[in-house]
């Protein structure tokens, strides 16, 4: 029987610094991975943390890590020329089939962009496979903006609204919460629209409210839930919401199911 708890050492190929607090680690990994899935990443001595896949390349997988906890702090200190221990992928991830041919709107808050970056990037490179693709990404300040290089490409291909909660005086770009930009969205055929919301729980809640106000149906909305996951294997119990294990059944849910999940 396979011992799922044993991690593999994975070489850090590249580190992309987005902000002081957020780096993307490009790691060696061979195997099928979907955007929105996650790995348990660890450093001996400091423990494991579930981190979502923010990009999939040839023989590599990206993890965008925010320095906010014990494990992630340590990863920032100790990565140089080194490897990290990883095990996974776990969870369902985003199924691109749900979005092909549709008018896609991705609404992401902060690091919430990580799990969905793979989806945005796929359609930016394969525009013919969707009807349209809009990205509304919100960050606290200009200094918190992630994936700046990606945004340059995405802005050419997609409709991108990159907003910041707090902007310096004289800033001319979009300002305010992501929810502010939802009422103005235009659709050729609203029934063919599909939404992805990823971010902090409060942001998901209010974003979904705005989307429903547009007259959209719940089944047109997909969310991804972030919870504590010690094992990723349906054992440790921390991520359970009702009868649902986020690590096994999620973290991506259609809102029809997602709205019934209670912490």
């Amino acid at each position: 029987m396979k011992n799922e708890y044993i991690p593999q050492a994975s070489k850090i190929r590249e580190v992309i610094r987005h902000t002081d607090l957020e780096y993307t680690f490009r790691m060696t990994y061979e195997g099928d991975v979907k955007p929105g899935q996650f790995f348990e990443i660890s450093l001996p001595k400091y423990g494991e943390a579930p981190i979502s896949v923010s990009g999939v390349g040839a023989g590599t997988v990206d993890f965008t890590i925010r320095r906010v906890g014990k494990v992630t702090n340590e990863i920032f200190e100790n990565y140089v020329g080194d490897s990290l221990l990883i095990r996974g992928p776990y969870g369902n991830g985003f199924d691109l089939e749900h979005f092909k041919g549709r008018e896609i709107v991705v609404v992401a808050g902060g690091t919430g962009l990580s799990p969905v970056r793979g989806v945005v990037d796929y359609f930016a490179r394969h525009m013919q496979e969707c009807d349209s693709c809009t990205l509304i990404a919100g960050f606290k300040t200009l200094g918190d903006v992630l994936f700046k290089e990606d945004f340059a490409l995405w802005k050419e291909k997609l409709q991108v609204i990159q907003t910041v909660d707090n902007a310096p005086e004289g800033y001319e770009g979009p300002v305010g919460m992501v929810t502010r930009y939802i009422p103005d969205l235009k659709f050729k055929n609203p029934e063919n629209a599909v939404f992805i919301c990823v971010g902090p729980p409060v942001m998901i809640k209010f974003t979904v409210q705005e989307i429903l106000k547009l007259g959209m149906k719940e089944e047109q909305i997909w969310i991804s839930n972030e919870r504590k996951m010690c094992c990723g294997l349906g054992k440790c119990g921390h991520c359970r919401m009702g009868s649902t294990y986020i690590c096994l059944d999620g973290p991506v849910f259609n809102y029809v199911e997602g709205k019934n999940l209670i912490d």
Binding site: M1, K2, N3, E4, Y5, I6, P7, A9, S42, P44, K45, Y46, G47, E48, A49, R66, V68, G69, K70, V71, T72, P200, P201, E226, R227, K228, C230, C231, L233, G234, K235, C236, G237, H238, R240, G242, S243, T244, Y245, C247, L248, N260, I262, D263
Partner: protein, 333 residues
């Protein structure tokens, strides 16, 4: 096959069994209770029937014989991870009917739900279960209400009775020990609890609306979040990962898993300071609803086996069984 044994034959049987098996049973740990000068009945290794506490329910369940309180998953040195060896010998675990039903719940989570757990599986496959009778039912259990009073999937049933002993063996591998001990064949039927003092009616119309009832706040105001109810429960299975490093060699250490409680601070905390269940009321609701609703929704039968240990151990005298009855009653109103 059923057997009758003399006291000497019982002792001989245990001695012989101990040659091959590790016997885990409830034993009295003197002075090791939670408060000073109190005892506790917990699982320990035995080699004779006299070491076993037969006449009262163990304070902690059999759970720690399959799922250690803290378990090393692997040791790491600089570049390698080495997995500690599994149990060297098969084991016999003595338990009550409700607890044997509890094993089914542990199996459901650790062998099925998603992945099969390497560590649990390697202990579980070496374990046989010895049923202890409940002729005099315990005070707080409500196994009859939960339908867990008549476990029949035991490998062995043993009952000491004064100068005699009785056994029912359902495992071919164990039959030879009775022949060796010189036991006489007899018709033996386990003592099952037929009636409990506590009776529980499971609410039948629970739904997502039940999550917002006032009753949870009421219990939450009493609960101090110590988590003891989780630790004594034969069906609670949660754990947290922990990395440990040795002081004398900072390059070596181990990753462990340690029992966790959904009632204790930190259970839902994620990096960045977000916590999903902050109040004791929410946590109490999370636990109770899992035992009687959420688990059943996923696996088709309730999680709780009605052993009553959570009621026994609560320092705030919260009665979980009474809470369930109140929920059922509120439904009728």
């Amino acid at each position: 096959m059923g057997y009758q044994l003399t006291k000497t034959q019982m002792d001989e049987l245990f001695r012989e069994l101990s040659e091959t098996y590790d016997l885990y049973a409830p034993v009295l740990m003197k002075g090791e209770g939670c408060f000073s000068e109190t005892d506790v009945v917990r699982y320990g290794k035995v080699t004779s029937p006299d070491e076993i506490v037969w006449d009262r329910k163990s304070d902690y369940s059999y759970k720690e014989t399959l799922l250690p309180i803290n378990e090393t998953l692997f040791y790491f040195t600089e570049d390698t991870a080495s997995v500690p060896q599994g149990p060297k010998r098969d084991r016999l675990v003595f338990l009550r009917s409700c607890d044997l039903y509890g094993v089914k719940r542990l199996d459901e989570i650790y062998l099925k739900n998603g992945f099969s757990d390497y560590y649990y599986a390697r202990i579980r496959e070496r374990t046989k279960f010895v049923l202890m009778g409940c002729g005099t039912p315990c005070k707080s259990g409500f196994c009859v209400s939960m339908g867990t009073n008549r476990a029949e999937n035991y490998d062995l049933y043993i009952k000491p009775d004064g100068e005699l002993g009785y056994a029912d063996c359902r495992c071919g591998e164990l039959e030879e020990y009775f022949r060796k001990a010189g036991a006489v064949e007899a018709r033996v039927v386990p003592d099952y609890a037929e009636e409990n003092r506590e009776q529980v009616t499971l609410p039948k119309k629970l739904s997502n609306e039940s999550f917002t009832r006032e009753i949870w706040n009421e219990y939450g105001a009493r609960c101090i979040g110590c988590g003891r109810c989780n630790f004594v429960c034969p069906t609670c299975t949660c754990f947290t990962m922990q990395d440990v490093f040795y002081r004398d060699n900072e390059k070596a250490g181990e990753r462990r898993r340690v029992w966790a409680s959904c009632q204790v601070d930190g259970y839902t905390d994620i990096a960045g300071g977000i916590s999903f269940r902050k109040t004791q009321g929410e946590r109490f609701r999370f636990k109770v609803m899992h035992k009687i609703y959420d688990y059943e929704k996923r696996f088709g039968y309730p999680m709780c086996v009605g052993c009553g240990r959570c009621d026994d151990v609560c320092p705030e005298y919260i009665s979980y069984s009474n809470c369930i009855n109140r929920l059922a009653k509120e439904e009728e109103e």
